[in-house]
């Protein structure tokens, strides 16, 4: 598939523990297997412990770009958590950005302790809509919980990403990478999560 921009800049954002590093690695591997040049920059370490996390993917037909996307130059935002989507658009959004959003909140300890409030999710979604050219949503965490483990949310999101047809990726590519990266007993469940994401995601 032709990239609508080169480099095409993707941010996968969320909260430490949601699996954004694995999601970015799987997506990167899928693209490299199709001969794209990919750079991924990730937040690691202390930020994993319940902090806001991001992976930056730069996808190009020809050049290796820096692992950090410049301000205002995100083309596609995949947010695993609602307010994290707004946090990222603050720095990297622009009028042309497209957003794929998991609508299930994770409360920060600042909210749990009562020092901050978590906004109504519907308001967050409408703000994200105002700041994006196109928006797709789904409750990936709920699907993962129905499957028995919230750990699948990131894979549900990748399935949704494949279905919205913004990036040159496909289901067979996903299966191939999962076979390489994870033990074979985990293949079936992951493919199921991937397919579920594709079924449920909707443009709003």
């Amino acid at each position: 598939m032709f990239l609508s921009k080169d480099p095409f800049n993707v941010i996968i954002g969320g909260v430490g523990g949601q699996g954004n590093v694995l999601a970015s690695q799987i997506l990167g591997e899928m693209l490299v297997s199709q001969e794209y040049v990919v750079t991924i920059g990730e937040t690691y370490g202390a930020s994993q412990r319940g902090g806001a996390v991001m992976s930056h993917l730069r996808i190009s037909n020809k050049d290796q770009f820096s692992p950090l996307i410049p301000e205002g130059q995100c083309n596609l935002l995949i947010s695993l958590e609602p307010v994290e989507g707004l946090r990222i658009l603050d720095t990297y959004g622009n009028p042309r950005v497209m957003t794929l959003l998991n609508t299930r909140p994770i409360h920060p300890i600042d909210v749990i302790s009562g020092n901050a409030t978590y906004p109504e999710v519907s308001k967050v979604i409408s703000k994200i809509k105002e700041l994006s050219r196109r928006v797709w949503t789904l409750n990936a965490t709920e699907i993962a919980l129905e499957m028995g483990d919230p750990i699948f949310s990131n894979i549900v999101m990748l399935g949704a990403l494949c279905a919205i047809d913004v990036l040159p990726i496909h289901r067979q590519g996903f299966e191939m990478i999962i076979r390489e990266l994870l033990p074979s007993r985990l293949l079936e469940e992951n493919v199921k999560a991937f397919d579920k994401g594709g079924e449920v995601v909707q443009e709003i």
Binding site: V38, S47, G50, P67, G114, E130, T141
Partner: protein, 636 residues
């Protein structure tokens, strides 16, 4: 099979910078690899540990960075190739040995990778390790891309053997912990036989002649670097501005030039070999322009050393304007990014740059400030450290003498923040909590009335706290050491250590028992499970108030992330909505406002606590905290 181990020359794979370094070492025929884990360096040796068996390597997690360097230096002195990796703080620990090894020299290729962490994303400090190359007259390479990380590692092994010196590679977070395309080359099959040459003893002594020999090697390294393909100039023959850069700065500089569309005005001088600097190559390129901007992460290392070379040659070169950290065009603290570099170039060219419409930026900013709560770092749900700090808070309050906690490095360093209830009051180097306690524990003779408590993780204890504990008993210090034994080096990715019973490569190892070690060092030792909160508080309080001396309390409970890999949740936890009295309870929302485990939520509609089933790991600790017994745990 791990793509790092594939013998598939010509194939392109996606590798993390650290994996690319590991792959480079394999392609160079490395045999012995050692490290103490520390981000952003951990995956270099971690990757090699996973494939040690199939590749025929010895790979170990050493007890600390100095020992790791000694282990790999031994391989070198026996003629094999050795790879050692560490983070910036690690090089401080290893430096004593390194600054003698440079004098004795090496045989088999010895490469020391140090991964710096600009902004201290996963560190307690921000530090530029390149200064050690200058201090020790050691050759230094700085990769800018993933492919280069692999190639430089191979070159470093070759150079090390040609010079008889360890070669340093300085990486940074955005090279080590980023991923990109890497094209693979062949992995050789040679298996040289190690032998120590008795006729060539390796002595730094006498220092003056060995220092002289070191200077000669350093000069030879400079000559090699003059021709290195890792150094290059890209841009117009007479640029308006020349960016001199290395490592991660190079990609940001390229990005800046693209963003501003100034390829015809700005040249980029990329240096891959940054100590000793290739003086002639630099002088040749400095002639191209009279305006020079330095882009590099952390300290002005290139900036100051290039200026030194310029000063020596200024009559030939004429007047030049240098921009960088000294001129405040680039920040002298924190990590760089494409934005900072783009703005620095923009200012010097006096051109405009607008990455997005200003009204959009304003709307996005308003939405974020209206709606986005901050997300303070905290312990994971089910983390034993939360329970430990809760017990510390209770025990110190019950004791009532204003006791304080001396901290150390690991996940439990978050004990300084809200999820450790602000209990931890100091943090310095590995083992320093116990070392400081040795000193505070002597001050009662001058009238210090507060009880002294130190915390230390299991891996940190083996790394650097053991000598401090010996010192404490020998010199008669008074304090309580809390050993937070979660059976893993959790912060850096759950690597095994001498207390876990397994090695880096997954083989069974003898357990160096924490209790036996502490008792052997003369301390009085007790063990509790921090999830038994009341017993933990009671034991801590008793030990605080007991007779003088060194007392050790081991808080034994496996890291929640490690146990989650093996077993399902211990308990199913629920908040009984009838029993929870909400704001009217009088507990002041103890579970959420004070204990604040992320697995709990405060439901604003019912005004009661509940469990977030997507987060809770079922440790059950909160059930013991609720005064209304509204939080119930049932064995899952």
């Amino acid at each position: 099979m791990s793509s790092v181990a594939q013998n598939a020359p010509g194939k392109t794979v996606l590798l993390m910078g650290n994996e690319a370094i590991a792959r480079g070492a394999l392609e160079a025929g490395v045999k012995v690899c050692a490290a103490y884990p520390g981000n952003p360096s951990s995956e270099i040796i971690g990757t090699l540990a996973k494939i040690a068996g199939e590749m025929g390597l010895h790979v170990e997690w050493s007890v600390n960075e100095k020992v790791a360097l000694e282990v790999t230096a031994a391989a070198s002195l026996a003629g094999l190739r050795g790879l050692c990796a560490m983070k910036q703080n690690g090089l401080n620990v290893a430096s004593d040995f390194l600054l003698n090894l440079n004098l004795t020299g090496t045989d088999g290729g010895l490469v020391l990778v140090v991964a710096d962490d600009p902004s201290g994303v996963s560190s307690t400090n921000e530090e530029d390790s390149r200064i050690y190359a200058k201090l020790g007259d050691l050759p230094l390479l700085e990769p800018a891309t993933f492919q280069e990380a692999k190639e430089m590692t191979k070159t470093a092994f070759e150079m090390s053997e040609q010079l008889g010196l360890p070669v340093l590679i300085r990486s940074v977070t955005r090279v080590s912990h980023a991923r990109g395309n890497v094209s693979l080359d062949e992995i050789p099959k040679a298996s040289p036989k190690p032998r120590f040459e008795n006729s060539r003893p390796r002595l730094a002594f006498p220092p003056v002649p060995t220092h002289k020999a070191l200077h000669e090697k350093s000069e030879k390294a400079r000559q090699m670097f003059e021709e290195s393909s890792f150094n290059s100039y890209r841009g117009p023959e007479t640029p308006e501005l020349m960016v001199v850069t290395s490592g991660s700065g190079w990609m940001y500089a390229l990005e800046g030039v693209i963003n501003l569309n100034v390829r015809n005005k700005v040249g980029i001088l990329k240096l891959g070999t940054t100590w000793p600097l290739p003086e002639n190559f630099l002088l040749e390129n400095l002639k191209k322009t009279d305006r020079i901007l330095f882009i590099e992460e952390v300290d002005p290392f290139l900036e100051n050393n290039v200026k030194e070379i310029y000063a020596q040659n200024c009559f030939d070169l004429g007047l030049k304007a240098f921009f960088g950290k000294a001129s405040k065009n680039v920040p002298d603290i924190g990590e760089l990014n494409p934005e900072i570099v783009t703005r620095a170039i923009q200012t010097l060219l006096s051109i405009s740059y607008e990455p997005r419409p200003p009204d959009y930026a304003q709307r996005a900013h308003e939405a974020a400030s209206d709606f986005v709560p901050s997300r303070t770092l905290g312990f994971c749900p089910g983390c034993p450290h939360r329970a430990t700090y809760w017990a510390i808070k209770m025990a110190l309050a019950l004791d009532g003498r204003d006791g304080f906690v001396l901290g150390d490095i690991g996940c439990y360093g978050l004990g300084m923040g809200p999820s450790g209830f602000g209990q931890m009051k100091t943090i310095h180097a590995m083992g320093s909590g116990t070392g400081l306690a040795c000193g505070f524990g002597q001050l009662d003779r001058f009238g210090l009335e507060q009880p002294v408590v130190a915390v230390c993780g299991d891996s940190t204890f083996y790394h650097a706290a053991m000598p401090a504990l010996v010192n404490a008993y020998y010199n008669g210090a008074n304090f309580l050491l809390l050993l937070l034994d979660n059976s893993a080096t959790a912060m850096t990715g759950f690597q095994p250590h001498p207390g876990t019973g397994s090695t880096a490569t997954g083989e069974t190892a003898p357990v160096i028992d924490l209790r036996a070690v502490c008792e052997g060092f003369g301390a009085r030792v007790e063990v509790v499970d921090p999830f038994d909160v009341s017993a933990t508080v009671e034991t801590m309080l008793r030990l605080l108030q007991d007779e003088k001396g060194v007392k050790v309390l081991i808080l034994k409970r496996e890291c929640a992330l490690v146990s989650a890999k093996r077993q399902k949740n211990l308990y199913k936890v629920e908040v009984d909505q009838d029993r929870c009295l909400g704001e009217s309870c009088g507990c002041n929302r103890l579970c959420t406002r004070i204990f604040k485990c992320p697995g709990l939520m405060w439901d604003v509609t019912t005004e009661k606590a509940r469990i977030d089933e997507a987060i809770c790991t079922g440790c059950g600790v909160c059930a013991g905290i609720c005064p209304a017994s509204a939080i119930r745990k049932e064995v899952a």
